[in-house]
């Protein structure tokens, strides 16, 4: 007679479900970005009229801000892992500021494009693909900022503790993805496509 559960092996480790899920979501997001990028590249130089990508200014400062936010969020992850909540809060706040700078920069860029160059989503193919691709990324930044801010509020309320490090890290994966995708979008739109 023996029973089924034989707990003789204590080393049975499974990957973290949060990280697996976030990585799966990221793979799915890659599909969405891939299609929008494909459309952008496919329509490069297909404009019948109106402004072309040559009117774009390269947003160097924005890009530096967004990419360095990846560094600050990584430092924040390490801080919460060690239980340094104050340091975590400071770095997390810095990440939000950098993200806000990026989204403000994008808003200003769009404002100039619309009112200075007269480029809207319905002007021509460049407008269509540019606003949808960069807008898709900006949407992700906004979603990320909402999440970052929520965690920040809880940090300020003193509800975030060391044991939440894992959840914070899972969320940080998403922010890293948003940054990484910007590298691709930036390269395609501002470096190659211009």
């Amino acid at each position: 007679m023996s029973t089924v559960p034989l707990f003789t092996d204590e080393s049975w480790q499974m990957p973290s479900k949060g990280k697996v899920a976030m990585l799966s979501l990221i793979i799915g997001e890659c599909g969405i970005f891939g299609i929008f990028l494909a459309a952008y590249i496919f329509y490069l130089g297909h404009n019948l009229s109106g402004p072309t990508p040559s009117i774009l200014d390269v947003p160097v400062f924005n890009t530096v801000c967004l990419l360095s936010s990846s560094l600050t969020i990584w430092l924040a992850e390490r801080a919460i892992e060690r239980g340094e909540i104050r340091k975590f809060g400071a770095l997390w706040g810095l990440t939000i500021l950098l993200g806000l700078e990026f989204i403000t920069g994008t808003a200003l860029e769009w404002y100039a494009l619309i009112y200075r160059d007269g480029l809207t989503i319905s002007t021509n193919l460049f407008g269509t693909t540019f606003y949808s691709l960069v807008g898709l990324h900006a949407t992700h930044v906004v979603v990320g900022l909402v999440g970052l801010t929520t965690i920040m509020i809880f940090t300020l309320l003193g509800k975030v503790r060391q044991e939440h490090a894992h959840r914070v890290q899972v969320f940080a994966l998403y922010w890293h993805f948003v940054d990484a995708v910007w590298v691709v979008v930036f390269t395609v739109v501002y470096l190659v496509g211009r």
Binding site: K17, A21, I35, A39, L125, T128
Partner: protein, 562 residues
């Protein structure tokens, strides 16, 4: 050894001690986060829509039964074939596979629930509401023909027909919006299944000991991640075109309808494998159990499934040989498509080798799986024929093509869905489905199936194109079309027998016990229906067939497995 009765006190009463009022009952289903209840809701939902889409197919066949028929209006006809395709793919095929996955995967890997139970409920309701929104268009959708204009541009919704200028009103918007919603539901469930299979396995359940059903659902979910998202992206583009004045698919502003075709099939072809791999998954469970043999070539099966997953991402343009690609493009997609035949061939031979020398029990699930093997072989062969570009140029969008993909979708997938329901119904409901009705269902359905879809190949050869409203009497298609319609009617009878069996056996079926089929995977080590927590104690497995090890202590599998 005597056949000992399994002492289980009335499972239905035990699992749900108090039925309560109707409202309490409804509340328990609406708020549930239990993977088993969600799985059942998925399956009931998709079986309901299977009846709906089947009824639409019947109307199509009534219209086409005789030449110059006007049983339904041409506008209605367009809506019907669009909704038939859309429903069968998005509201039947996908939900039922996720329903099965929801119910079976946690049980098979010895988990108490999915990785994210609330996300699971959310995904289901999103998919469900998406479906209802789609069907609301029959009442509330305003389109070219006024109110009640359901989507009518084909399930592939080729541009430029879907643009504002050709499809005014909202009928196409209903199509895009509903599918975006259910697409996100699908994405959520796929993520959930991946996280469950990778992170929730019980002790000893290494990846190479997972049941093949779970393995294939893992592959399907991974494939879904990169399949459904391109469609969502393309539909967002379509909505931008229609609402914000963008020009993605607007040829007059330089946009390219061809791009939509590419985007659609980047989704559309892997989607076929998303649908058919769960069918393989069911066959992987049913065939060994009813052949009384371990599955032949487990690693080869896993490798072939993963191979199909990857290959299917590089074959989409074989739907597009007639749009005029370059010779290099044609050759690439011909060859990549034929590679799929190698992987499915591996699977085919493994199933046959599993049955070879086995002591086969011809119970209803096994009958459906044998039907599947036979019909999937033919479907694969016509697939290889259509994969050759010159042949495809001749027969593209003819009824030969319709016959080919219905052979896959009905002959393989629906057959395996039936097998799965007959196989796992005792686990979910505690009662077996009637074998007598099941055999009637099988034979009536198979006869109807072959009448309909074998004959469709021939009208295809005779030049009948798809999606036509009616045809002249002098084309030589009259008798064949009548045969097809009669076959469709017979299939409907088969499905009605099935529906009656589901209801009848729920009340009067034979008590199932925990393990009615003498099977080997962990779900059969729980009571039928399983309690909320599935397993009181966490199980531990040592081989691919944990119950075999328990049933045959002198001869357990782990002695042989690597």
């Amino acid at each position: 050894m005597a056949d000992q009765p399994v002492p289980i006190a009335g499972p239905l009463e035990v699992a749900y001690p108090t039925r309560g009022t109707f409202l309490e009952w409804l509340h328990s289903w609406v708020t549930t986060v239990d993977h088993k209840k969600i799985g059942i809701m998925y399956i009931v939902y998709s079986l309901f829509f299977m009846m709906v889409a089947g009824a639409e197919a019947m109307l199509i066949r009534i219209q086409l039964a005789i030449p110059n028929n006007h049983a339904i209006s041409p506008e209605m006809y367009n809506e019907l074939f669009t909704m038939h395709g859309t429903t069968m793919v998005f509201l039947v095929g996908m939900p039922i596979l996720f329903g099965l996955a929801n119910y079976i995967v946690p049980l098979q890997i010895g988990a108490r629930d999915m990785a994210f139970p609330r996300l699971n409920a959310f995904s289901f309701w999103l998919t469900a509401f998406g479906g209802f929104l789609l069907y609301y268009s029959f009442i509330g959708g305003f389109g070219l023909y006024g109110m009640g204009n359901a989507p009518d541009a084909g399930w592939f919704a080729y541009a430029p027909l879907t643009l504002r200028s050709f499809s005014p009103g909202h009928s196409i918007d209903y199509w895009a919006a509903a599918l975006i919603l259910s697409g996100f539901g699908t994405l959520g469930t796929a993520i959930n299944i991946i996280a469950t299979t990778l992170s929730m396995r019980c002790r000893g359940m290494t990846l190479m000991r997972m049941p093949l059903f779970t393995w294939l659902l893992l592959v399907v979910s991974g494939l879904t991640l990169v399949t459904i998202t391109p469609l969502t992206a393309a539909q967002v583009m379509l909505l931008l075109d229609r609402y914000a004045g963008a020009h993605f698919f607007d040829a007059q502003a330089g946009g390219s309808p061809l791009l939509w075709i590419h985007f659609f099939w980047v989704f559309g072809h892997p989607e076929v494998y998303v649908l058919v791999l769960p069918a393989f998954a069911v066959a992987n469970e049913v065939i060994p159990v009813f052949s009384r043999k371990a599955i032949f070539g487990y690693p080869a099966m896993v490798a072939a499934s993963v191979g199909i997953g990857f290959t299917s991402l590089a074959v989409w343009a074989h739907h597009m040989f007639t749009v005029g690609m370059s010779a290099a493009g044609n050759s690439f997609f011909v060859l990549s498509t034929m590679v799929v035949g190698i992987f499915t061939g591996i699977k085919m031979f493994n199933w046959l080798a599993t049955m070879w020398g086995g002591s086969i029990r011809f119970a209803t699930p096994m009958l459906f799986c044998i039907g599947f093997l036979f019909q999937f072989l033919i479907a694969g062969l016509t697939g290889i024929m259509l994969a050759a570009a010159p042949w495809d140029w001749q027969l593209h969008n003819s009824y030969f093509l319709i016959a080919h993909f219905h052979y896959v979708l009905v002959g393989a997938i629906v057959m395996c869905i039936f097998a799965a329901v007959y196989y796992w119904y005792p686990k979910a409901m505690g009662r077996r489905l009637s074998e007598t009705l099941g055999k009637w269902h099988f034979w009536v359905f198979v006869i109807g199936f072959h009448m309909t879809f074998d004959t469709m190949h021939f009208v295809g050869f005779l030049g009948m194109p798809r999606s036509i409203y009616t045809y002249e009497a002098d084309r030589g298609w009259n008798t064949l079309n009548m045969v097809i319609s009669i076959g469709a009617f017979i299939q409907t009878i088969g499905v009605l027998i099935f529906a009656w069996n589901l209801v009848y056996s729920y009340f009067y079926g034979e008590e199932a016990g925990s393990d009615p089929w003498d099977a080997w995977t962990l779900e059969w080590a729980t009571p039928s229906p399983p309690p909320v927590y599935n397993f009181a104690t966490e199980p531990e497995v040592r081989s691919r067939r944990p119950l075999w090890d328990i049933k045959h202590p002198q001869d357990p599998d782990w002695k042989y497995e690597p």
